[in-house]
């Protein structure tokens, strides 16, 4: 069951790109799978409006970080989906964004909970 709307968190600007790249690290996936994966893995805390995924996907593709191809689904042979997969440049980008993100979290943490840092 979805959680109460009050507990949902709007995605920060720019983090969607990182989440998409991270999702694709496991292998190729189509848009629907990516959306579901992000929702599932965050215990549905992060709400991605499915539609907002596509501009992001197309932007990432234009930047050359992911590539797409129409393929038949593994389970049901008759239907085709547009599968995305990470490119080498995408791998690099993901690493870069990850480290940036870690720095951000770390910095915010030091402001919010200075004691815990010791």
């Amino acid at each position: 069951m979805p959680k109460d709307p009050a507990d949902r968190i709007e995605l920060l600007q720019g983090t969607l790109d990182m989440l998409i790249l991270r999702t694709l690290l496991f292998g190729k996936a189509h848009g629907h799978q990516i959306a579901k994966h992000i929702q599932r893995t965050t215990d549905e805390v992060l709400q991605v409006e499915h539609g907002s995924l596509y501009p992001a996907l197309h932007r990432l593709e234009r930047k050359g970080w992911i590539a797409s191809k129409w393929e038949t689904a593994a389970k049901e042979q008759k239907r085709e989906f547009k599968y995305y997969r990470l490119t080498a440049a995408g791998h690099k980008q993901l690493t870069a964004e990850e480290s940036k993100w870690k720095q951000l979290v770390h910095a915010i943490g030091r402001v919010m909970w200075p004691a815990e840092e010791g």
Binding site: G31, H32, G51, S52, Y54, P55, R59, R62, F81, K82
Partner: protein
Amino acid sequence: MNWWRKSKERDLERELQSHLDLEAEEQREAGLPPESARLAAQRAFGNRTLTTEVTREAWGWTWIDRLRQDVLYSARTLRRTPGFTLVAVLSLGLGIGANTAIFTLLNAIVLRLLPVPDAHQLVQFTYTLPMWETNPNNWNGYFGYPQFARLREQSKTLSGVFGGTSLGRVNVDFRGTAGLAQADAYTGNFFSVLALTPQAGRFFAEDEDRIDAAVAVISDRYWRNRFAGDPAVIGANVTINQLPFTVIGVAPEDFTGITVGSAPDLWVPLRTLDRFRPDPRRWDAAFTSWLLIAGRLKPGVSLEQSQAELDVIHRRLIREQLESSTELRNSENLKRFVEASHMRLLPAAAGMHSFLRQSYAFPLKLLMAVAGIVLLVACANVANLLLARASSRKREIAVRLAIGASRRRVVRQFLTESLVLATLGGLLGIVIASVGSVALVTMISTGDTPLPLNVTPDWFIFGFAAGISLLTVVLFGLVPAIRGSRVDPAPAMKDGARGTADSSSAWNRGLVMVQVALSVVLVTGAGLFARTLQNLWNIDTGYRRDNVLMFSVDARLGGHPAERVGAIYSEILERMRSLPDTQSASASIVRPVDDHFYLVDRVQAVDGRRLPEADTIRVAWNAISPGYFSTVGTPLLTGREFSAQDDERAPKVVIVNESLAKAAFGKDNPIGRRIDAATVVGLVRDTNYNGVRDKPRPVLYHPLFQYGSAQAFRWGFVSFEIRHRAGANPLEQIRREVAGVDRTLPVFRVRTLVAQTQQALLRERLLAMLATFFGALALALACLGLYGLMAYAVTRRTSEFGIRMALGAGRAHIFWLVVRGTLGLSLAGLILGVPAALWASRFTESLLFGVKATDLVAVLIPVAVLAAVAALAGYLPARRAVRIQPTIALRYE
């Protein structure tokens, strides 16, 4: 592009649909009924249209979409105001067209590089030739053959040196049909040093530069015009001045020779000169001057390095030449020459030094500046129109801003409109320019055919037109766009479409003032050039210009042996004399006001007394038939003209002009005295020998059939002058009679003496005509601006005038109110313009004649013209203001 885009759209559509289908399926599997599952999927997805639009933006296409939108919208708005659009496009078109036309010519004459690889490596050889009496900066571009041989053999900084000369007009006979052509003779390495590739056949080679090498390369133009572009011409036999030659190749299409303004039709090896004009001393005579030399620098060698090397070779050679010749060794002039002459290399990337380029480079640059000013005036006009338009479009802009358009978007819309205007103006400009530049070339052509200049618009010209069109957008569009978008929606919408007095009228007034000032500058310039032309035309050149027709014939083109040539000319002259319309006829080497020839010599002895070298008299000379002076209308002061008895067997006689008589004999009567080996038989009035601007100079006249025959008519063609009955046109008879003497003899340079004089003033005419045209154009545009501003002001002040009238203001008062505005603006423009004109006209000084750059009349003319024009531009709106009915005006409020 478009199909790619469509396929992307379809792809996205399919992708989104597959997503929705899959989600709906999952919802169904979770237990929802099909309809609710579909809705749930849509809910989870969000706004599909928005997603599509945002995704499209991620493709980076949207700016094209927006541009398309803006352009379409602009086109609609411009169509709604056809008057405005027409005036704007026309002003821009004329401005851009004027600039492009002049630029096309400037490009063709001055800028365009030779179409050869690495053109910047080419250099032309010249040497300084200080003339102590006349011009210490004199230089010469023509060498003797020994110079060429030495330079080519010894230079280490050049990868190749070629030399050549023009054969001038030749008679080319192909399958029995004769025709004139321009021929050049160049050394065998000419084409290889230029690194050209023939478009058909082959070029002549280094070892083909022999007297017996009967090969010719033809130009693309000649190939097309004379041989209809037939590839079979390769290997064809032609005769050139009755000598057999074989056509071996066609030069590349874009190669029209190495000198701007002279495009040879064919090239033959240099050594074949010995067959055309045998001259045993040609290849080793020292201190001659007939061979053009040019070369290609080795890669990495600078012009200065090469010049330094060649200067040493040049100076060593002329010293040797002086010392090895016993007869020349004691010439003071030559000693000074050898002492002082240095080699100078000219960059020849854009071709060899050309008379055409020399005389037109500066006038064309000047005209370019003038055309630029015209464009500025046109831009000011359009900017003014746009400003006025923007203030009457306030309501529209206010609505657009109110419903959420960003200011940037509005500015972009305005600029797009300007861009559309400029594009239309640019297209019109290109059309005007392509017609105009052909007309200009025809105008400056003195020969029988238009100058061989390539003025077909190419990408360079299109680029130039596009560039200045874009520039105009910035010039006329930016301020109106920024001002037009600065609208506060609320009051603007309340106020309605009616404009209120605001600061934009200050911009308007400023622009009109600038227009007026700029047109004052141009009209002043036009006045200066027009008066220069008039002054030159009114000069007494010493000839009576009316009813004289001239033509030239070259008997050698008919292949006649040297000893027959004189007889042919004399027969033509006899036939001319017997034509019914002829009053008198004559023949001469140099024709009056000639544009081709200039013959100089030195008088060595007077009355049998040999003059010391420093005192020899420098003279221009001509050889003329009996009746020459009465035909061209030069008064004979004393003595007689030459007669038929003054032939080869008779004692030598000459006629002198006043300047020569004075130089040789002082105030004494020259008749019967002796100049060199000849007796003076006549004295004539001074004439301007070398063109209209020439000062009177000593001129010596020889009898054509005495002196000419002795020299075997080696100067080429002879000119015939015919004074005919007024109103007669004897040209057809002339052609018939010449054909009667020899059917193969071409008649060329057919011109009246009036036309010949006009052509001598061609540059001045071009300047005067174009400056007047541009000045008038600028004035008309400024006038239009002035009128538009005043008319607009009257419209805006309708209610004000109504109230004034209702309160008792007289019509004269209202009239004066409007006229005062116009006069104020014109006056301000004049105050700006007159000093600017005085400043700018200094640059024209070298082109003026008989008028100073700071000429008061030249400044007063535009002042008067402008006052008249301003009065007219002010009168029409003022009349409308006076006719305002107070009741109607107030109801309008």
